[in-house]
Amino acid sequence: MTSSCREPLSLGTLLAYWFGELDAEAERQVEEHFVGCAYCSETLEALAALGLGIRAVFETGLVSAILSPAFVERMKERGMKLREYPVAPGGTVNCTITAQDDAVISRLKAPLAGRTRIDVLRLDREGNVRLRYTDVPFDPAAGEVLVCPSASVLKAAPAFRDTMRLLAIDVDGEHVLGDYIFDHTPS
């Protein structure tokens, strides 16, 4: 890393610049600064590399994520091959992933209006909690939570049953919104 800058651009400013959130004058000032500053351009380059890396690990299925419906549409527009499994509460679905698939989307249907916090549990065959995703992001109007498991893990997995449980959390405690059973078989 180049030694220093007397007035380095903050990470918040660089992020706002990168995502086009600054007004025209602020954007011009940021560009005048980093194009003339080795230190800040290296900071921005590291940020850009991280962003490209995040995109790459998601595209190659190395990470799982909770997604929005609009985002799933963007994945399709980019030509990603998706296998989608919409499941109602209490439903069971036979699922798989092929070598040609880029991602699997589990669409967990549930009434979400008025809910403020949702947790997702991953249960094993005995009903023990294997993983808990706390306070997942969701759009209450969407009526579903979209889980995109790691495609690389799924492609290497043997046959298994994965139960996901949606929990709504409020001042009265936890409320089960539904269990969703995925019977996975390898392709």
Binding site: Y17, L50, G51, S64, L67, S68, P137, S150
Partner: protein, 193 residues
């Protein structure tokens, strides 16, 4: 023929002065050093505005080709204004690139003698396995915000709207998540999945 002593320790303006002073001869060392410094910065500018790494690399190459030619011709009167000079060309070239993809080939043909020197180095490539481990150490919410932000190049307002979060909250989550991710990648503090 090398006319001046410039190198990694020289400031940008000194390099520009060396190039101008050398004309009509060429100070290849100063030109190479200017290109080495500016190429990654112009590429970043290009990535931000074109959102395509190949187009950004093309932009950097084209702008540097033009910049070196103009410096050789003494068209930059104040060497201290190199940044504005380069940014101005970058902005115009982005507009041209959007309008006319054929510009690249024309410029490369016209300035083939300096094309090799101004080819920017490849951007850094991170260890993907390690990055995936670091991302799994984030909260689900933070990971979603980062994926939606960087996959789709979406600002906080749109990401927040899709995830049921306020714009300000999305900015805070994004900022903290990136700091955590950066620390994890640099210090090897990744957590278990």
């Amino acid at each position: 023929m090398e006319l001046t002593r410039v190198g990694p320790g020289s400031d940008d303006a000194s390099l520009v002065r060396a190039i101008i002073a050398a004309a009509p001869a060429l100070d290849r060392k100063a030109e190479a050093e200017i290109c080495r410094r500016l190429a990654p910065r112009i590429r970043l500018f290009g990535l931000r505005h074109l959102r395509d790494s190949h187009a950004a690399a093309d932009l950097a190459q084209q702008v540097l080709l033009m910049a070196i030619e103009k410096l050789r011709a003494g068209e930059l009167r104040d060497p201290e204004k190199l940044t504005s000079f380069v940014l101005g060309m970058s902005r115009l070239t982005v507009l041209d690139l959007r309008r006319n993809a054929a510009l690249r080939d024309a410029l490369l043909r016209q300035y083939s003698d300096v094309a090799e020197a101004v080819t920017p180095a490849d951007p850094k490539v991170l260890d993907r396995e390690k990055l995936a481990r670091c991302m799994h150490a984030l909260t689900e919410r933070a990971r979603s915000v980062l994926v939606l932000s960087f996959f789709g190049d979406k600002g906080a307002a749109e990401v927040g709207r899709e995830l049921g979060l306020s714009c300000e909250n999305t900015r805070v989550i994004r900022h903290r998540a990136l700091v955590q991710l950066r620390d994890c990648m640099t210090a090897g503090k990744e957590g278990a999945q």
